[in-house]
Amino acid sequence: MSFTSFHFGLFVIISFIANNYCRGKTTYGLVAFLINLAFFSSFFDTLLGAVPIVIFLITAYFLVVLSFYIKKPFVLFISLFAVMMIFSYLKKYTFVSWSPELPFVYTVIGMSYILFRVIHLIVDVYEGSIKDKIGFIDFINYCCFFLVLVSGPIVRYQDFSLQYLSKESSLLLSREDVVGAFSRILTGYIKIVGLSALFIFLFSTFNQEYWQLKVGTGGKVVAVWFGYASVTYFFHLYFNFTGYMDVVIGLGILFGYRLPENFNKPLLASSFLEFWTRWHITLSEWFRTYFFNPLVKWLNGVVKDSNKHVVSIGILGYFATFLVIGYWHTPSICLAILLGVGAAVNKIFQGFSKQIFGKKRMKRLNGNDFFNYICRGLTISYLAISIAFLWMDYREIYFKYSFVWIAVSFFMIWAVVGAVSAMAMVIYDKLARFANRFHLVIENQSLSCMATNAWLVSKLFIILYASLITINPTPAFIYMGF
């Protein structure tokens, strides 16, 4: 069920009434279960197609329960290994391609995010961070909560259960909550129907031009079309993902859930590593807690005098973490390597620059506007080129052009797009400052009810107008595919 479909609107209204008028833990749990089940089942064409993911969920629940009773490291290891292998098999990762495929078509909707939640549960239950027993209905309601099923944000069970259990009493929403939620939802739809649709249209045009280029076309021409395509795709992804998150978080408020923010102005990031603390935040936090931290801890244990090798351990840790994040996004190894290398080079640069310039000079440099805009431009440019491997097959380039050409053009495009992005950032900052002032005035609580309503209605009109002039169908949620 798409978030932009009529069915979804109807589904939200019915589930909102059911959600907000059913009280008492058992009743609420069952109603929430039915709502989640209805949303979940809308993605399956046949009953058989749902069997693999249902078996995955039942196995995962069994392993979570097992972690309550058996606190042995090897049981933890086997449990984590089992859920990851089933996940990889069902998602058809290349490293398990030797195994026979299931003889029927099945759907794996939201499975990546279910896996993240399951690993979090198994580890936290094993370590004693989650002490209360988890019933099957509560487990399903957590793992398959319809608002965050397909792409997060990844809510911690401890935070979710507090809000979920609070539904025993009546849900009280203030006027500000409701207005804020609607405003957020409408902003989300403006991003999806307007901006994301605009950028996917531009991208399709540039991408078409790019692929029509023949072998032997001048490097500059290829670079220009590739540059246009990669940047427009990046902004399509940005508006698509942030737009859907706005809708999810806004609806969350109406359903009585304060979901964590997944973005914090990623375009302000002045380094690769900072970008990932601002983009898809809950995914980064998950990887930091359950992959990066245990890996660095382990490396500290095996490396002699580890305190003298903090940076080296960090470089290895960041490289491995971003390699996995990249591989999770797409089986294309290019994205994984580019993300891994980006993180490692960022850390190496931090270490070197501190040694060469000294801490104080680096601090002054980081505070310099010009330096900052260049860094921001290069960060966005690097990421735009990296994620090009989400829409481009690396073999195409490899056969079309020589390795040296690819390497040279990579740095050329990076530098040019980086410089243009840096200039664009200056305009972006000015616009953002203006928009923020405008937003503050509009959202000001002292404004009359009429002004607030006018603001909401104007947002609605922007959505309607954008829907009317959009040639392409409304862009689907990109992260749904992961």
Binding site: V123, D124, E127, L273, R288, T289, F292, I313, G314, K347
Partner: protein, 82 residues
């Protein structure tokens, strides 16, 4: 502040100065990652590993991720030391 908390803070102060290689760092209960420039994900986990070693304790994955300030770290050390 109890004597135990004071002792822990003194020891943490030494760890911070040593790890961040900065004599100017003065920690308090309210000190957060925002107050120390180099306190990123890597330094956070390295700090936790060093604290675990120095105090002979173990932290859970979730605790490491959820720590907000030095005061919470001291609370956790006090709790773990029993």
């Amino acid at each position: 502040m109890s004597v135990i908390r004071k002792e822990i803070q003194v020891k943490l102060q030494e760890i911070f100065v040593d790890l961040f290689d900065d004599d100017g760092i003065v920690i308090s209960n309210d000190t957060t990652a925002k107050d120390i420039d180099e306190w990123d994900s890597l330094m956070h986990i390295t700090l936790m590993v060093t604290v675990e070693r120095e105090f002979g304790i173990k932290f859970r994955a979730e605790e490491i991720g959820q720590l907000k300030c030095v005061g919470e770290l001291i609370d956790l050390i006090v709790e773990r030391k029993g």
